[in-house]
């Protein structure tokens, strides 16, 4: 074994740097032992202990640096000492990774953002309730976007929220607009006098968009999650939402949107609405309009009608039903599209990314063309045996759990609808394909482009089929995907674009009705 050394007089180096350097030397081939040290008495005694204290190092001073290596061969010794010198002279330019440090928990986030007042939670359902509980305990209002939260957990969270005076929007709350801030999936709409409490995501989106288009504006839109009006939950958040909007100086008209409520809860809500100091419009999709109206409350059969009435009330006018042809007379386009249909093209296929939009379309269409089959049917007997296969008039909600398990929602990833569109286009009995295009925050960057390209591919694949393709855009000019551009993309592909979901559904129904009458 060879021991080699080199002394560098009066060269101070930090001991930690030297330990690190020694460790690097020890990794070299043939190196049995290596020490780069300041020649202090203590270091010299350590060298002594391992039999490496040569007289020259022993004679060195504490401010001298010593390199000592024990190696197999002369050549390796040479190399090791050279490496040591090189490492000593190497400028320490090595940079640590500067990673942005995000807080790891809700609690540390609250410490880092003083004044935080809302938690937007979208973690997997199994963990979501626990995070929501933490948020409530930290005094935060909660927007719980996550789904797959148990009903039991929802009830408990809302009880705690009610007790603490905190909102629990959700679970499965897709949309909210609070003080002008769009949360999760939401459109950028004008501020105004109308406050919304809604148990459906795209329902709220459509309502806010239409209110803006009708010249109104939104104070707040509070989502409650789809189960809030079940009797188990008892409409806790709808009631809290009404309280908030009733006391909010910015809100002059309140609009409630919901799927049918549990009987006890429906009564509770209607009782509350009757006491409300501000005018309230109620839209219970699939619900009993008569019950609402007989309670002396302004009811609306569709989201569109509800938006129309709310804007009227906000303008100090009477809430009357939306007139026919309010948006314009589309008879010409309808006749033209119908004229291109073959004799067997008799069915409507609605491919929706928004569940409430699908509901609204079914409510409207079943009045015009009769039974509509669906994976979320209006009546149980209309349930599709397989959601993946249409039957007669069919409207599917592609955002339903069955389609989204393990994959992103079709509002984010349009692939499932693109595929389904091809499937429907191939069917020679399909006369109308009806689609929603939902823009805004959270949605795909170019949903219209995706739909237009899918239609173009289908036309190429089945040139002899020529169903009418009808769409509407739930969006505004201020959205990240501006409305006018989205409409232009669709129209360029020959898609018939209408101003609202309800109008699009009506147009689809009218085409099929017209076609039926001409076949007879």
């Amino acid at each position: 074994m060879v021991i080699r050394w080199l002394i560098k007089p009066k060269m101070y180096q930090d001991s930690v740097k030297l330990m690190k350097l020694s460790a690097e030397l020890r990794k070299q081939d043939g190196v049995k032992q290596a020490s780069v040290i300041m020649a202090t008495e203590m270091n010299k005694s350590t060298l002594q202990d391992i039999g490496m204290l040569v007289p020259e190092v022993a004679a060195a001073n504490a401010d001298d640096l010593a390199i000592i290596v024990a190696v197999d061969t002369e050549e390796q010794a040479q190399k090791a000492v050279e490496l040591a010198e090189k490492l000593l002279n190497r400028a320490e330019v090595q940079q640590g990774e500067t990673k942005q440090q995000f807080p790891k928990t809700l609690r540390s986030a609250v410490e880092a953002l003083p004044g935080a007042n809302l938690a937007l939670i979208s973690v997997p359902g199994t963990y979501a309730a626990a995070e929501a509980l933490k948020a409530l305990n930290l005094g935060l209002n909660v927007h719980l976007f996550s789904d797959n939260v148990t009903l039991e957990d929802e009830v408990r969270l809302k009880q705690i929220g009610t007790k603490k005076g905190l909102l629990v929007m959700g679970p499965d709350c897709g949309t909210a607009i609070i003080d002008g801030v769009p949360l999760a999936f939401a459109n950028v709409v004008a501020r105004g006098k109308i406050g919304i409490v809604g148990a459906s995501g795209t329902g709220i989106q459509e309502a806010t968009v239409l209110i803006e288009r009708l010249g109104g504006g939104i104070s707040h839109a509070i989502g409650t999650g789809g189960r809030d009006l079940l009797d188990e939950v008892g409409g806790q958040m709808m009631l809290l939402g009404i309280d908030l909007l009733e006391d909010d100086p910015a809100t002059e008209v309140i609009l409630l949107i919901s799927k049918p409520a549990g009987p006890r809860t429906a009564n509770k809500i209607l009782d509350r609405v009757k006491q409300c100091k501000k005018p309230v419009v109620v839209n219970l999709l699939k619900g009993d309009l008569n019950a609402i109206q007989s309670a002396g409350v302004v009811g609306a059969a569709t989201i569109e009608d509800a938006a129309y009435k709310a804007v009227a009330l906000a303008n100090g006018e009477e809430a009357v039903a939306m007139p026919e042809n309010y948006w314009g007379d589309y008879s010409k386009q309808i006749a033209m599209l119908e004229s291109q249909l073959g004799p067997n093209q008799r069915y409507i296929r609605g491919l929706f990314t928004g569940g409430t939009l699908a509901d609204e379309a079914m409510v409207i269409l079943s009045d015009i063309v009769g039974d509509i089959f669906s994976n979320i049917p209006l009546k149980p007997e209309l349930k599709l045996p397989s959601a993946r296969k249409s039957h007669k008039h069919t409207i599917v909600d592609l955002g339903d759990d069955e389609f989204t398990r393990g994959r992103p929602h079709p509002m984010i990833d349009p692939l499932p609808r693109n595929e389904r569109l091809m499937q429907e286009y191939a069917d020679p009995e399909v006369g109308v394909i009806l689609c929603d295009v939902v823009t805004g925050y959270g949605s795909h960057a170019d949903p219209a482009g995706e739909l237009a390209r899918a239609v173009a591919r289908a036309r190429d694949a089945y040139p002899s089929n020529n169903p009418a393709v009808i769409a509407f855009v739930c969006g505004t000019e201020a959205d990240p995907q501006p409305l006018s551009e989205q409409v232009k993309v669709l129209e360029k592909e020959g898609i018939f674009v209408l101003p609202s979901n309800a109008e699009a559904a009506r147009a689809a129904g009218r085409i099929i009705k017209l076609h039926e009458s001409r076949r007879v």
Partner: protein, 470 residues
């Protein structure tokens, strides 16, 4: 319902947990928000997730208790007031007692360095003439072994304290409680690493007979030394007051020197001054006693999830929790990752050892690593890594200590007060800067580096908290 009302009156300030795109959207709209780098709590362990949820139901009780603990911690004013012999000053100390570091351990299970130190202490006390006799005595059952921590004391490495060893007396002036620690003998072959040869015993006697009285007189003449201020200054000067005590030792020496010159016998002054000048770690034991005095004040508050001690005996790592009395929660002591002195490697190392992790428990050491970029190379790290370690620790502490600030983080207070719940929830193990002892008695320190406190200790404590709280 004032709270939801506050929300709709705006401005909305959002904590985003989950999809990062939601946070990006808010940022693009100019809405104040913060994104949480969320992972399933407790690494997704369903049983622990349930336990955490169960405890969350009682969080108000815990928060109240923790607030009390935090107040006591932050308000503590540790002051070095005296030096006395352990047997005279530590309450409950007995003649045949030997205190050791870490959780309780019996002679038969002690690691090499601790056994070596016990032998040295018995010889020093005159209870044995040589190692053989000492071992026999230690094994006889006549010697009562107990953790330093259970006697308001702390000691680095083996942490051995026997009756006639001088100890620093640190008083927390706010609560009036006291903490004690032994003297730092320097580096190399020293008792705390298990060395017990005659020159070691000789040095201990010199510490007792010369150094301790001289320092005691100086301390008394100064009216004590305010350790909170001294520690704060040292942090500004590049110490983290666990693995690096260069600045603190210098400050202490500078503080005591004028009095020392007056009170120390002239023929001993040079010896005393040289000893201090050569020992960069002299302040370590005082730093530890200060931390102990602070944390003991926060101990024993029912419902509090604050960790009040992390300590290792070279076999087991143990923690104590404010709301859980004197119970220890233990796991096998891990090995330290770090750099070795010449001639040593992993095979020579003893598992983690010593009470010095009391500094991390109090927000110093690894938790204040950002203050001491000079020592991050122990883990092959860069100054940025030092910042990252400290930033990571904010996720598991209950508070931060405005008395101790870190220049490199814009004078942000150090993360302080480890929370059992946060440790388990985040899966982030507390980081500890520490020395590495040779596994055989007497060889001494062979390196230094970083170690993480084992998660099992915190999980065990969480189980007990769940039992006591719900």
């Amino acid at each position: 319902m004032t709270l939801s009302r506050d929300l709709i009156n705006g401005p909305v300030k959002v904590v985003n947990v989950g999809l990062e795109s939601f946070a990006h959207d808010l940022t693009s709209l100019g809405v104040a928000n913060i994104h949480v780098e969320w992972r399933p709590p407790a690494n997704g362990d369903p049983h622990l997730v349930r336990l955490l949820a169960l405890i969350e139901e009682n969080i108000d009780v815990i928060n109240t208790a923790n607030q009390k603990a935090i107040n006591r911690l932050l308000e503590a004013q540790p002051k070095l007031i005296d030096i006395k012999l352990a047997g005279e000053v530590i309450p409950g100390f007995e003649r045949n007692m030997i205190l050791h570091s870490g959780p309780p351990i019996t002679w038969s299970k002690m690691c090499g360095p601790m056994r070596g130190a016990v032998i040295g202490a018995l010889i020093y006390e005159g209870l044995a003439d040589n190692a053989e006799q000492a071992e026999k005595l230690a094994a006889s059952g006549e010697i009562k072994f107990a953790p330093c921590h259970e006697y308001s004391a702390v000691g680095p490495m083996s942490g051995i304290i026997s009756a006639s060893m001088p100890v620093f007396v640190v008083e927390n002036e706010t609560a009036g409680n006291r903490a004690y620690s032994n003297f730092n003998e320097g580096l190399g072959k020293v008792l705390r690493f298990g060395a017990n040869s005659p020159e070691i015993i000789e040095r201990l006697r010199w510490i007792r007979d010369v150094l301790a009285p001289a320092l005691r007189n100086a301390i008394l003449a100064c009216g004590g030394v305010d350790l909170k201020t001294l520690t704060a200054k040292a942090l500004q000067m590049g110490d983290e007051c666990h693995n690096r005590n260069l600045a603190a030792t210098s400050l202490l020496t500078r503080t005591l020197m004028p009095a020392l010159v007056k009170t120390c016998p002239p023929n001993k002054l040079e010896e005393v001054a040289s000893f201090l000048a050569k020992n960069d770690h002299f302040y370590l034991n005082i730093s530890m006693a200060a931390c102990k005095a602070i944390l003991d004040a926060a101990h024993g508050i029912p419902g509090s999830t604050l960790v009040t001690a992390m300590a290792r005996n070279g076999v087991e790592f143990g923690i104590r929790v404010s709301g859980l009395g004197n119970e220890w929660f233990t796991a096998p002591a891990p090995y330290v990752k770090g750099l070795y002195f010449p001639g040593y490697n992993d095979e020579d190392a003893n598992p983690d050892l010593g009470d010095s992790a009391i500094t991390e428990t109090c927000g110093l050491g690894g938790f204040a690593m950002a203050a001491a970029p000079a020592i991050v190379q122990f883990v092959g790290g860069t100054p940025q890594d030092a910042l990252n370690y400290t930033l990571e620790m904010y996720n598991i502490t209950l508070t931060s200590n405005p008395a101790y600030t870190i220049p490199n983080l814009g004078f942000r207070p150090t993360p302080t007060g480890i929370d059992v719940l946060k440790v388990v929830e985040t899966g982030i193990n507390p980081i500890i800067n520490t020395g590495i002892a040779h596994r055989e008695a007497g060889v001494g320190q062979i390196g230094a580096g970083l170690v993480r406190a084992p998660m099992e200790c915190f999980v065990a404590a969480l189980h007990r908290l769940a039992e006591t709280i719900s």
